[in-house]
């Protein structure tokens, strides 16, 4: 495949508005995720059937106590949205940590050692890509029951391919550079060269991959929760909120618009930030 170069656009990295938009979105999401209990105006789990499906602030008949309205069980939508942000970010980050550990280890070993090891690594990547992740994650949840821990482990075991691909190709480039040769000559051990010379030099590429993976994991979690085999209720995952509100969407579309827009904006923000970082580092994320 041809190498896609980063074109020299007019504004890149931190000079670009889109990077800043991404950073602000991710910043807000992080604040929501960390300080959730302080930010929620109501208990996101408290049901009040007398206040079912109150409309949000831009519609008639709204209640000023519930800015974004309430769901079908009378739970405050804004509180559930903020709590859902915590779930999304938590899953996005933990899944990425698991998949990064697997993918980077495999990729660096393949790229550094080459030969048979690299053949095995390439084979593992091909096999992984041939397995449909949504189907397998659903099957695991269906057979073992849905829980956050299980979800994180399953997705982590399924999403390491891009880390492996990028770690492998960048390691191959670094392996043949002069400072690595110098380290060999200085008598450094293999481990020392890997940890001290190779990893720091491919780290920027991996950070960019990590942003893409966080976004992907958040989208997958939402899809799995939407299908009822992701985060178990009553936790307010955005995917689960959309699934629970689906029965009411034809009468009051806002019930699915609000969590969906939140999901879309968060993923977009992470991708914008990731693109900005890519330009900043001059990193490549395509295999």
């Amino acid at each position: 495949m041809s190498v896609v170069s980063v074109t020299a656009g007019p504004k890149r990295g931190w000079k670009s508005v889109s990077t800043w938009i991404g950073a602000v979105i991710v910043g807000i999401a992080l604040i929501c995720a960390i300080f959730t209990p302080l930010l929620v105006p109501h208990d996101p789990f408290a049901q009040d059937l007398s206040k079912r499906l109150l409309p949000p602030f831009w519609m008639a008949g709204t209640n000023p106590d519930y800015i974004l309205g309430t769901d079908q069980l009378g739970r405050d939508y804004l509180s559930r949205l903020i709590w859902g942000c915590r779930i999304s970010m938590l899953i996005g980050v933990t899944v990425t940590v698991v998949s990064a550990l697997i993918g980077i280890t495999i990729g660096v070993l393949g790229g550094f050692l080459g030969g048979r090891v690299d053949d095995a690594v390439l084979f593992a990547i091909t096999t992984r890509l041939s397995i449909p992740p949504v189907l397998v994650a659903l099957a695991v949840a269906g057979l073992l029951g849905s829980s956050m821990t299980l979800l994180v482990l399953t997705l982590g075991l399924l999403l390491w391919d891009r880390f492996a691909v990028v770690a492998r190709s960048t390691t191959m480039q670094v392996r043949n550079l002069d400072f690595v040769a110098a380290a060999w000559c200085a008598g450094c051990s293999r481990f020392r060269i890997l940890a001290g010379e190779v990893l720091p030099n491919i780290a920027s590429h991996l950070v960019v991959v990590a942003t893409l993976e966080i976004a992907l994991a958040i989208l997958l979690e939402a899809a799995l929760s939407f299908l009822g085999l992701g985060v178990p209720p009553p936790l307010p995952s955005w995917g689960l909120m959309i699934a629970e509100a689906k029965d009411y969407m034809f009468f009051s579309p806002w019930v699915i618009v609000i969590p969906g827009v939140a999901l879309f904006v968060l993923v977009l923000g992470i991708n914008l930030l990731g693109d900005g970082l890519r330009d900043l580092f001059g990193a490549r994320t395509d295999p």
Binding site: G9, T126, A139, A222, L229, P253, L268, N271
Partner: protein, 305 residues
């Protein structure tokens, strides 16, 4: 060329064998399958009967090689719920999934190719940035949510398209659009990058020097070269789309293979689940082989000595 083919075929078979092993392990994760098949109200005797009837009393290795041996001859076992051959079930549902996948791919190409070409021709202009923004928006779009929004807008409010089911070709338009969204960002970026690279090459300068028309240069000379990676990735994307259609089939109640897998997961019908995983993996591997072959055929440089 032959050596290249044989090597790819061996890898493909090895991948299929590995996926079979993984699918087998996957379906055995829950522990005792007989208990889950027999249901919550079953007595000990029922469970024993189920275990015997389905051959689950045999050692795991025997079960595994039995499955592999049968699958190699095209026998994917029998569904516990539907009481029919799994291969027949998948065969019946596959046309729906393939139709959906191809619809999605065609829509994706119809959007990506013009967008990518436009962006490349107007590189670094506002138009280029708009196209790149569209690609980013597509990447962030949750497919199941887009499906629901289209159902509300195109289906209910405008009444243009049917909301769910598989009665006519119109039923495939909305799910096709949703599925296309997953491929549009990658295909658009690749078309744009390929066109920019092609437009900067020597043969385009030669074509310009010969005084050829702009359209001829763009479509005949540049696009042909830019299209090679796009066509190859399109085949791979189709593989991803077939694997990912499970969510969309569920949203639009299309009873394809993904829907079948989804039903079977809920019913602990593990022969169907492991067979669908295997079939989708084999299709993906076949499609990547096709992609590699297309690359080799279209670009002699990749064939090697």
């Amino acid at each position: 060329m032959l050596q290249f083919l044989v090597r790819r075929l061996i890898v493909a078979i090895l991948v299929a064998a590995t996926v079979m092993t993984l699918a087998f392990i996957l379906t055995r994760l829950s522990g005792d399958l007989a208990i889950s098949i027999a249901g919550p109200n079953a007595t000990q005797a029922d469970v024993e009967a189920v275990r015997k009837a389905y051959g689950l009393d045999r050692p795991l290795t025997v079960q595994f090689f039995d499955w592999v041996g049968r699958a190699a001859t095209g026998d994917l076992g029998e569904s516990y719920f539907f009481k029919t051959k799994v291969s027949k079930l998948i065969g019946e549902r596959m046309p729906i999934t393939i139709t959906l996948g191809l619809t999605g791919l065609v829509i994706a190409l119809l959007v990506s190719l013009p967008l990518g070409i436009l962006a490349a021709v107007r590189e670094n202009t506002a138009l280029d940035r708009v196209v790149q923004m569209v690609a980013l928006l597509g990447q962030a779009m949750p497919s199941f949510w887009l499906g629901l929004i289209l159902m509300i807008t195109l289906g209910l409010q405008l009444g243009w398209l049917p909301i769910s089911g598989t009665g006519s070709w119109q039923h495939y338009v909305m799910p096709g659009i949703v599925l296309a969204f997953s491929a549009i960002p990658a295909l658009t970026r690749l078309t744009r990058a390929g066109m920019i690279q092609a437009m900067g090459s020597d043969y385009i300068r030669t074509a310009r020097a010969k005084g050829l028309s702009r359209a001829s240069i763009l479509l005949k000379h540049a696009l042909r070269n830019a299209a090679i990676p796009v066509v190859a990735i399109a085949a791979v994307q189709l593989g991803f789309m077939l694997g990912g259609s499970i969510v969309i089939e569920q949203v639009f109640a299309l009873h394809g293979v993904g829907f079948l897998a989804w039903e079977s997961i809920g019913k602990n019908d593990f022969p169907v689940v492991q067979a669908v995983v295997l079939v989708l993996a084999v299709i993906y591997v076949a499609l990547t082989m096709v992609a590699d072959l297309m690359n080799a055929v279209l670009d002699p440089r990749l064939r090697g000595p």
